[in-house]
Amino acid sequence: MTDNRITLRVWGDYACFTRPEMKVERVSYPVMTPSAARGVLEAVFWEPEIYYLIDAIHVIRRGNWFSFRRNEVISVISLVSAKTWMTSPEEVSPIQAGGGAPDGTQRNMLALQEVEYLITAEVRPSGLGSRHGIKTYVEEIRRRARNGKCYHRPYLGVREFACDFEWEEDAEAAFERRQQELGSEWRRYDENIGLMLYDVFAPELRAHGFRWLQEDNAAVDSPIRLEPAKKRKSKALTPRSTGVLVRPEALFFFADVRDGKLDCHPSRAQFAVKPAMEA
């Protein structure tokens, strides 16, 4: 498996890995979650034929806590009212945000500042076809990460906290090297965090690959349907892939950062609820 293992070093001025139990006023976990790490990797390279299993996250700089209050918008853009808008615009009004307006509110955010991590992940085939061998994809990821190429700008938890990234050949070596470089600024971070969000779906489901949940699937009773999805007649907005329909569902694991390393490989991580296994 070692050939399929990749390591990216990511860093940014700010980060907020929101705890789902405190979703109104965002409070970050003290360290990057596996799902946020997956998001960073997918921003660099995503392809339905592969998926990432986050192996470990090394914390190079845990960062300081940092609180921030902003004017936010509580209303979401309603598709129903947008449809009305097309035909009778006089019945709808735009979203009114900012100072005391009905759709605005002030929300606090407890985030991290000055963070840096090493993300180690396994690149695995998803079973949605294999035009190329896994090595080809690993090479492509390496090429992108080395040259600063990305599908979209990766971020640490929320999009305003954009991050930079760099390829690393070996996680342990990079971890050692950064400790030396940081010198007196280096702080080892160890903490038994307890329950932490692993991702919004079980890794087994991820192994099947997935396609986005579309409106025409909304009537499905069972949240998870394992037969291949039917072909869409209309021009697909998103992918060329088909796969299993996955409904987002939070999965938690017991997170323990030891020697600056959060081990989160599904084969070693202890999940709060054993995910339903599918062959």
Partner: protein, 318 residues
Amino acid sequence: MNKTALTNRHDFLILFEVTNGNPNGDPDAGNMPRFDPNTNKGLVSDVCLKRKIRNYIELFPPARTSAEENGFNILIKQGAVIETEQKKGIEAAKQLHKEKDKQAEATMRWLCREFFDVRTFGGVLSTGDDVMKGSAWGQVRGPAQFTFGQSFHPVNPLEITMTVCAARLEGKPIEQQTGIQGHKYIVPYALYAAKGYVSPAFAERTGFTQADLDLLFEALLHMFEHDRSAARGEMVVRGLYDFEHVGTQHENNAEQNRREARLGCAHAHMLFDGIKVELTDEARSKGFPESFADYRVICDWDDKPLPAGVRLHKRHEI
């Protein structure tokens, strides 16, 4: 989705300054200018910058060439609005939609086409459906992404007391209505930098075009000029360094260039590192900056070649 969608990645750095004003108040601290308590450096939130852009577009929307082209309405408005103008614009577009749009997808596209802010910054959609809740379907990810603005040096907010010399109400004693009536905060001087990124992959989804990007830069350059207020002081954009990724191949190889330009040709942090902002020697002996003249902005890319496939546009030099 859109044949004319933006094809090149852009990473940009915006430098802006404030003189005797409050660029962005902190509601946690009685509207004091935001600053980071760990470093004392000033902060300006991403949403503050996006608000300015929205307000600028609302003031100066470009003429819409046809109903099929992108419109420039703003969906998320500040406080009270004048809606007449807006409805006119939408009236023009609605002819297209005589056939009912059942698909959420079509509605989403309509929102992106109609509203500049949805097309540029994205947004969260409500489908009014529980099954869809929390799925990736419920969001439009906009191509433009802003980070927090940070000042280069610690800021030192001052509290200014405001006195009133004329009474407003007849019924109340004049003494109660005059004298010290309020406070405001100012930053004497600070230079801030914020980073922005534009991802072509999302531009394709929302139909964000090169013209939209030009408009975004125009808004960034002029956003403070139409946002004057006593509280804000003087705010000026001092630099807008736009790194455009164009591809490393010969221009005959357009297809390959397009692919490279979409993903980018160099690390963004490397490009930004080439823009150095430092205090001049006199300012250094003084210890703090008092005006833009106390800063020296050095663009390394003037002397050394940019990484292959990247172009630098200094949008502030017109």
